[in-house]
């Protein structure tokens, strides 16, 4: 919508005539030194920690170090505009970002300004980026599932709404792919009128990567319930440092209004690196791997804000999927161990599996979900119960197959079952599975109904079997979808359908 020039003039005239100003004493400081996106400021006596500071020329900063005679601040903008001796004002607030439904479908920077060229964002709601996490009374246990649409995760490592599940792995193992698939899978919930809003926070990513994510989400019509917060590799370190907090503030708006949201931090390793840079420039003492001493608190206070709220507070939830990139499979580095201990479980991705064609490359043995089990539907719990065990046994026996040795019948059977389970858990990118389909196929494989299908044909079998179920077993699938329970009737129905289909399948 275009504004006419005369309207603007009249509005401006009104604003100017109504403009009243109260002169007041302000506490100010002067810039002593500036450089590398940090500034040291003399004065600012009443300044509080993490207070928003205003520099001349419109650049903002955050006071991080309060010292005897100076204040150390990080700059959220170009440090080139700031000169020694300029006046700095404290604002008495901490930095806030715009939040609300108007943000959906937009790409914004770390301070909530749109960077997608789609014009200003019309929201007057602001939230401070750092607030305390909900306390014990305000929470309740995780109980509703957050469907990722990925068979291996929804069956073995279920994620509940309000949970924090770490995704960890080397570069190029499909960490982001899992998150994007999860966002795409929320479309069904959105269309059904029970949306899970998604926030994707890109920290220190290449702009091209962020663009690819946006394009993918647009292609799958997932942007309308998604906000993307981007602090890319070329942004200043302080912006990368605050980006996850801004994203969380946007998610909390949904959580605190009784809705559900999912936030993805991609990735917290780069976030820690940005914070390390800022800390070292502020001359805070370095610790292990040169990270500052409060790096654990940095992540724990961030992830604590993801929660399932009590019914009294509206029952909203914020689920977090933090990503941590490991270097050459080193899970025992400082940041990965920190975040593993903060989160409610982790999904391990391994490059060996990835290159062996197991995609998503989830290591089922090392991945856990500490609280998601309560959120799993009854039917899924039933079919997935033996899945993890079967897979573990298969991994143990797998070595034998490589020798080509003679095996007894039961061992051979276990290996056969395992190979088919592995095949079943493979899944293409951008192909989220509906829960009932997941249950049906895992049921078939787990019960040994497809043990006589050749391994190479399992994927084709799966595809056609699901089509067959949709047309020939509508009743069973409908009960599975609505009741989410694997009653004996449903189990029998599935078994019969599978036997019948196998006769057709060549």
């Amino acid at each position: 919508m275009e504004l006419r020039a005369e309207e603007i003039t009249s509005v401006i005239r009104k604003e100017i005539t109504d403009y009243q100003e109260q002169l007041k004493m302000e506490s100010v400081g002067t810039v002593l030194t500036v450089g590398d996106c940090v500034a040291r400021i003399y004065g600012l006596e009443k300044c509080k920690s993490s207070e928003l500071l205003e520099f001349e020329g419109g650049v903002n900063g955050i006071a991080l170090n309060l010292e005897e005679d100076s204040v150390g601040a990080v700059l959220l903008g170009e440090s080139r505009k700031i000169k020694e001796g300029q006046i700095v004002r404290s604002t008495g607030q901490i930095i806030s970002v715009p939040v609300g439904d108007a943000m959906l479908g937009r790409v914004v920077n770390a301070i909530g300004q749109p960077i997608d060229g789609k014009g200003p964002i019309s929201t007057d709601k602001l939230r401070p980026i750092e607030i305390n996490a909900p306390n014990v009374v305000g929470r309740q246990p995780v109980k509703e599932p957050l469907q990722t649409g990925i068979k291996a995760i929804d069956s073995m490592i279920p994620i509940g709404r309000g949970q924090r599940e770490l995704i960890i792995g080397d570069r190029q193992t499909g960490k982001t792919a899992i998150c994007i698939d999860t966002i795409i899978n929320q479309k069904k919930e959105f269309d059904a009128g029970n949306p899970v809003y998604c926030i994707y926070v890109a920290i220190g990513q290449k702009q091209s990567t962020v663009l690819r994510v946006v394009e993918t989400l647009e292609k799958y019509d997932a942007m309308k319930y998604t906000i993307i917060v981007s602090a890319s590799a070329s942004d200043a370190a302080p912006l990368q440092y605050i980006a996850p907090y801004s994203g969380t503030a946007m998610g909390e708006e949904f959580r605190d209004t009784g809705r559900h949201a999912l936030i993805i931090y991609d990735d917290l390793w780069k976030h820690a690196v940005a914070y390390r840079q800022v800390s070292l420039l502020l001359r805070r003492p370095p610790g292990r791997e040169a990270f500052p001493g409060d790096i654990f608190n940095l992540h724990s206070r961030l992830l604590e804000r993801s929660a399932k709220l009590s019914d009294k507070l509206g029952g909203g939830s914020l689920t977090a999927l933090p990503i941590v990139e490991t270097q050459a499979g080193d899970f025992s580095a400082y940041i990965p161990t920190n975040v593993i201990s903060i989160t409610d479980g982790q999904i391990y991705l391994q490059s060996e599996l990835f290159y062996a064609g197991v995609r998503p490359a989830i290591n089922a043995g090392l991945s856990v979900s500490r609280v998601g089990g309560n959120a799993q539907s009854k039917a899924m719990k039933k079919v997935a119960g033996s899945l993890r065990l079967d897979l573990a046994q298969f991994r143990e026996l797998e070595a034998f197959t490589k020798f080509g040795s003679e095996l007894d019948k039961s061992t051979q059977a276990q290996i056969n079952r395992g190979q088919r389970l592995i095949e079943i858990l493979k899944q293409g990118q951008y192909e989220p599975f509906a829960t009932e389909n997941q249950i049906a196929i895992i049921f078939a494989a787990g019960q040994g109904l497809i043990d006589d299908v050749p391994v190479a044909r399992v994927k084709a079998f799966e595809k056609e079997f699901l089509l067959y179920l949709r047309t020939n077993a509508t009743g069973v699938m409908e009960t599975l979808r609505t009741k989410k329970e694997l009653t004996s009737d449903v189990a029998e129905g599935l078994r019969a359908a599978c036997e019948a289909f196998k006769k057709e399948f060549k």
Partner: protein, 187 residues
């Protein structure tokens, strides 16, 4: 440690010594003379900060600048500063000293920046107003900066009262930008 913090420690020592001898004003004058010389004379600064020039020469030089009548506190201080190789604090000593001495005397220093040179009468009235508001003695330093367009800025310590036209226009412009942003987003 920032040079500022070092200066503060040294100045604290000087001021205590000066006070116990009751020579606060004399010390201040001598320090002012040194400061003025340092401000004006770049060569002098280079000389003082030069690493190969002997301490004895530097001490002698500073004694000369301080003048024959300088109190012992000042010469003792300059000698000690040179001895400890803290020459770099010298340019900031006078400002710190004056501030601390003013605090002792119960005087607040207001730095007034105005667009035009105010008349003595205006300064008197401003002083009276400020003294009334702060319930303290106020001494006023006036600076002229035509960039302010009109009105004045008063700075007391780290507090600022900005009544200049430039400052008010800046705030109005910020306010309008915010308003226009709101209108645009509402449209």
């Amino acid at each position: 440690m920032t040079p500022l913090r070092v200066t503060r420690r040294y100045v604290q020592g000087v001021i205590e010594a000066a006070q116990s001898e009751g020579k606060l004003d004399a010390v201040e004058q001598a320090l002012a003379a040194i400061d003025a010389a340092l401000q004006e004379n770049k060569d002098l600064r280079n000389l003082l900060f030069h690493p190969t020039i002997s301490r004895a020469r530097k001490k002698q030089l500073l004694r000369k600048i301080a003048g024959d009548g300088a109190p012992g506190v000042v010469t003792g201080f300059t000698d000690y500063v040179i001895e400890k190789k803290r020459e770099h604090i010298l340019p900031s000593v006078y400002g710190e000293f004056r501030e601390a001495a003013d605090a002792l005397r119960g005087i607040m220093r207001a730095r007034v920046t105005a667009a035009y040179q105010p008349t003595p009468d205006q300064i008197q009235r401003l002083k009276a107003q400020l003294e009334q508001a702060l319930a303290k003695k106020v001494s006023i330093e006036v600076k002229v900066d035509p960039a302010l367009l009109g009105g004045m800025q008063i700075m007391i310590g780290t507090y600022i009262l900005d009544g200049s036209i430039a400052g008010r226009l800046g705030r109005l412009s910020k306010h309008l930008q915010e308003e226009v942003g709101n209108i645009k987003s509402a449209a």
